[in-house]
Symmetry: C2
Subunit: 340 residues, 2 copies
């Protein structure tokens, strides 16, 4: 099987071959085909006053998993980071660091997966870079994607907009990505059927951005590493005037995730998602927003999971199934390295 | 010595600590301090009609070398990619992949180096990401930087603008970065004093962009991996209507590089630079541009090294010191992996 060698990262003949025969094969578009040091973008592409700019490195292990792969993950993750500031994702820059010896078959599978998401989501890869490093210097492939999006004029988000009585929504069942990756790594002696929720949230969130309730949105965050516990704790650290109260029975968790988290003793609140948005919105708009979300396949299990309070300032507490209150702390240790 | 652990990449408490105590310590600015999934940029920052967008991964080994380090390199490299399309560099997104166990002292040295370049060059890190991976999965630290710049209205560049009789300029002595890295890796039994030329080329190129000769520029490229041989070959591959003729005696090479390339048998045309721009400009403007370049410390050894021809279409040839013509091919194999 044809394997990649260090020469493909040399800047010479094989780099040129890699770009023209592999990269352009998958991501052909006029901006990318220019093959310049930077993509040149006309400003009139940006029809609104604000632009979103993000970057994320993806080092997930294994690179193929139930529900996705590192290629799909890298594009969806960057799209979701743009969506989380109210943007429509537009352009992607994609940088690959590849381990010498990785089969081209694997590389093409990843590139093809990237292409599929880009096509479905209507984003374009306009610039990129490829490095090949020795076998001991990297594990298979790392992908870093940077994204640019245009922020809808009617969406104004910020930690400072979050006020007591605002509601907290999560757009579906939590913890599926983290458990899918964890289970893919070892043999646990039980049957399971969990897939990563890896998905672009733009089609779902667009329905809210385009609705009359867009102006009611206070804050959005994609609940990845550290799960919804990390996201909610970061919110109360950034806005110390408020606390957060969750209602355990309202938190959407599939039966499968419930039983696995019981067996393994891992709290799903702390487990990574790759296709779930945490939404903070005004009390009055929350139910309407859930109605819109649940009408879309990506949001069908959306729930109001709690509210912002003026008590417990700087803390996240959860009313448990038994009616007791438990503090949900910022996760402290790494539950699972290389989750994304 | 305090070392980084996987938990710093968990998305939890230590990630938050890393961001607030390390990242914000070095790169504090209002956009970054928002700590959102994406930076939110007002469009009026972009005062011109075109925007440049680029990405590059840096995997250099060793991470500290004579004349620079991976931090300086990652910012200068991204700046130079923006400058190469005629842009003023503005915003940087910075993604770190760090090997578990790397000392914080090393990390801080790299961050501090990034900060120094950003301050001098007036670019801002507005968003970022940090992953920590196991010891076996990465070698020390990889940095991927994405950049946004604004393209000067009077600069129009493109392969199709290159015409016979245009002149080719290089902004100084070549091959210093590559040799500095090569020599840093082994013991060669001779004394040398070569430093990487790693530098931001914006202050130098700004003098041309701001001059009446900006409109005469046809094409720019930062001559990194593969050296000026790779850059020039890529040009004649993209514009097959022209050839390139170099004059060996005009190519600026320091005596030090000359003697080392003699000893090692490596052609400096193929060796990487990290602070040299290849400029293609109209015949009539070339000497004026060299005059401006040589008045700046970064360009003091700038030279016209050859011209565009309507013969040798698709090829780069060089008139040697002995008057013979030699074909300068695209580099084929990797001379030195992890050069940038």
């Amino acid at each position: 099987m044809k394997q990649i060698s260090l020469s493909y990262g040399s800047g010479g003949k094989l780099t040129y071959e890699f770009i023209t025969q592999y990269i352009l094969k998958y991501f052909s578009n006029p901006l990318l085909e220019e093959l310049l040091d930077s993509a040149v973008i006309k400003k009139d592409l940006f029809s609104t006053d604000r632009i979103a700019f993000t970057i994320d490195g993806y080092t997930i292990n294994p690179i193929f998993f139930a529900g996705g792969d590192i290629g799909k993950l890298s594009i969806c993750g960057t799209i979701n980071d743009l969506v989380a500031v109210g943007a429509e994702p537009k352009l992607i820059a994609c940088s690959l660091i590849i381990q010498e010896g990785l089969e081209f078959e694997v590389i093409e599978k990843v590139l093809s997966s990237i292409r599929n998401v880009c096509e479905t989501e209507n984003v374009k890869i306009v610039t990129g870079d490829t490095k090949v490093v020795e076998r001991t210097a990297c594990d298979k492939i790392f992908i870093t994607t940077s994204g640019i999006g245009i922020i809808k004029d009617n969406v104004k988000l910020g930690y400072d907009r979050i006020k007591p009585e605002d509601k907290i929504i999560v757009t579906g069942n939590i913890a599926e990505h983290g458990f899918a990756i964890l289970l893919s790594r070892g043999s646990y002696g039980f049957e399971y059927d969990i897939k990563s929720d890896c998905a672009s949230l733009y089609p779902l969130m667009k329905k809210i951005f385009d609705s009359e309730y867009a102006v009611e949105l206070k804050f959005l965050r994609d609940a990845t590493r550290g799960g919804i516990a990390a996201v909610l704790n970061e919110i109360v650290k950034q806005n110390k005037n408020v606390g957060i109260e969750l209602i355990e029975e309202n938190i959407p968790v599939s039966d499968e995730v419930k039983s696995i988290s019981d067996i393994l003793g891992i709290d799903p609140l702390y487990v990574a998602n790759e296709g779930k948005m945490v939404i903070i919105t005004s009390d009055s708009s929350a139910e309407k927003i859930v109605e819109i979300l649940t009408s879309h396949p990506l949001g069908k299990n959306s729930k109001i999971i709690g509210k912002v309070t003026d008590t417990y300032k700087g803390k996240v507490v959860m009313k448990t199934l038994y009616g007791a209150y438990r503090i949900i702390d910022m996760p402290t240790a790494e539950q699972l390295p290389r989750i994304c």
